[in-house]
Subunit: 155 residues, 2 copies
DNA sequence: TAAACTCAAAAGTCAGGGAAAGTCAAACGA
DNA sequence: TCGTTTGACTTTCCCTGACTTTTGAGTTTA
């Protein structure tokens, strides 16, 4: 994973977010220090730090430009509902995975639950399903599990 | 057995797993070093490193891709593994439910896990899947989840 | 002096090429 | 026969660079 440059960038951003859930970078400087082209930073951000995965990204061009990433953290019911609502009718494996990881990082779900949910949503588990139905099945299963988890916390 | 190329691949993977129960390979490199086509690695993995035998397989395509195999820890797994093996390639909702209940009653899994697994296997969750594939999907998901649970119970 | 006009410095967009694993069905062999 | 072997084709993900857009600052102009 972190053998790829994108993996390194991701890890670096996650490390920076670890502090207080927010980080501000200069795109060109970061690219320079990592030995990649600037646009790869955009690739990483747009593929991994999406709203759907629990991040908001702000930026500004021109002189003194910046890119700012913030991890949204919510209380339990809100976070679960937000996750359920943001999933939509279909979700791909990677997005599902980081959705789970984000809930885990925000202490919304515990490690055991994260592991179980991840297993249920993994491509391997869903392999018997024809390709065209997999992502919709994944979304449905994810929502059901999150709701079940939510119900369990109350009762 | 090990006169066949598949046998050699199997042995090699087992050796690599010997260390700490997990190994990460580059499919093309391994195929290269063993003098076989890459897709034969898939054949070996899908025929020998199955959930029934206690293995979890993860992978990723594209640049920096990998295949990771994890042997589930055999701490007190016999009950779990027995359940995995008794499921078969397909399972209906009622049988799945009683399987979960049995594991719960026998203190093999805890209440939270039972609830999550039940949610994932519920007809509602699997509704987007065409009827003919639902039971096989359910079986696959169940096995993957049990394996993940078992794997987590080691720490 | 204030509005308008450069200009360079940032970030964004996009399409294409490449790398790696997955799929599948046909051929093969003990 | 049934498990093995193969390779053509697909899918996913990564990386790059050329081009565009936005912004702030400094400069010019009425």
């Amino acid at each position: 994973m972190s053998s790829s440059i994108s993996g390194k960038i991701t890890q670096m951003l996650l490390d920076m977010l670890e502090q207080d859930g927010t980080t501000e970078i200069r795109r060109n400087d970061l690219a320079q220090s990592l030995g990649c082209v600037p646009s790869q930073i955009n690739y990483v951000i747009s593929s991994r730090f999406t709203p759907e995965r629990g991040y908001i990204v702000e930026s500004r061009r021109g002189g003194g430009g910046y890119v700012k990433i913030t991890r949204v953290s919510l209380d339990f019911p809100t976070a679960i509902m937000h996750a359920v609502n943001s999933v939509g009718p279909s979700i791909d494996p990677l997005t599902a995975r980081s959705c789970i990881m984000n809930l885990l990082a925000g202490d919304i779900i515990d490690r055991d639950a994260a592991s179980l949910i991840a297993a249920a949503l993994d491509e391997n588990a869903l392999r018997p399903i024809p390709y065209e139905y997999r992502d919709t099945a994944r979304a449905s299963i994810l929502k059901q599990m999150l709701l079940a988890y939510s119900n369990n916390r109350k009762g």
